[in-house]
């Protein structure tokens, strides 16, 4: 992603990275966050990036020359190896290593408080109890950001 001269390609690779991170979240049993990751980052943020890239029509030629070819070759090599390893694993008897996780419940109780749990309900519970104030502030921050963006992108009359 970093070494690709084309911004659109960079963005595409970025999406791949984000989805892969979401996969890691799944491995960590944080299903809600994984979904959020895909929806917010891969969905909203990256689409925004792509739009802007298209809108601005940035020149393709960038400056970064050093060792790009070798690095991307290395990356491709690792990628191919990984895919081959995965395919080999899924068709063989050998099991993939699994994360060493303790067991967690899937339903948050009021008593259990802030213990980790896989269900989305636990988010709601904790957001509206312990983290009530930050939650409100975050909401307000979003509002501010929205207003700010509107103000910034408004064309000034004198400029016209």
């Amino acid at each position: 992603m970093v070494f690709n001269p084309n911004a659109v390609n960079s963005a595409m690779f970025m999406i791949v990275v984000l989805v892969a991170t979401a996969g890691l979240f799944v491995l960590l049993e944080a299903y809600f966050l994984a979904i959020l990751q895909v929806l917010v980052y891969a969905g909203a943020v990256m689409v925004l990036f792509l739009f802007i890239i298209m809108l601005l029509d940035v020149d393709k030629g960038d400056d970064l020359k050093l060792g790009r070819r070798k690095l991307s070759l290395l990356a491709r090599f690792f990628g191919v190896c990984l895919v081959a390893f995965l395919i080999f694993n899924s068709f063989s008897e050998v099991n993939l290593p699994s994360p060493d996780l303790g067991t967690v419940g899937d339903y948050p109780g009021i008593e259990s408080g802030i213990d980790f749990s896989t269900s989305a309900k636990s988010f709601g519970l904790i957001l509206f109890t312990k983290y009530m104030l930050p939650f409100q502030i975050i909401g307000f921050l979003l509002l501010i950001a929205m207003i700010g963006v509107i103000v910034i992108s408004k064309k000034q009359k004198t400029a016209e």
Binding site: V2, M14, L24, L27, E29, L55, D63, P99, I138, S153
Partner: protein, 101 residues
């Protein structure tokens, strides 16, 4: 063989380094921006891992907040970039050097 917290930390650090190098090496503002997002993501990953291995919810909640802030940040940042582009017809940081002393 099992995967412990170390592996997740290493993955997170790698992602962070990639993002860091991106910011350091690239000249395109948009890509610098994406790299910033990547770093945020790396932090998210570390936080979720800690949270999971500590059996506590707080880290996950923080990830939630970071996501929200990142979304807001992207919106504002991109708006600024668009305005910059309108004014200067470029997004390369080489030409955005008015702060030079």
């Amino acid at each position: 063989m099992t995967i412990g917290i170390n592996e997740f930390i290493i993955a997170s650090s790698l992602l962070f380094l990639i993002g860091f190098m991106g910011v350091l090496l690239r000249r395109n503002t948009l890509i610098i921006y994406m790299s910033l997002e990547l770093m945020l993501n790396a932090v998210n990953l570390a936080l979720v891992a800690f949270s999971r291995f500590n059996q506590a919810m707080d880290g996950a909640i923080f990830v939630f907040f970071i996501m929200t802030v990142a979304a807001a940040e992207v919106a504002v940042g991109l708006a600024i970039i668009v305005m910059l582009f309108r004014k200067k017809q470029t997004v390369s940081v080489d030409e955005l050097n008015q702060l030079k002393g």
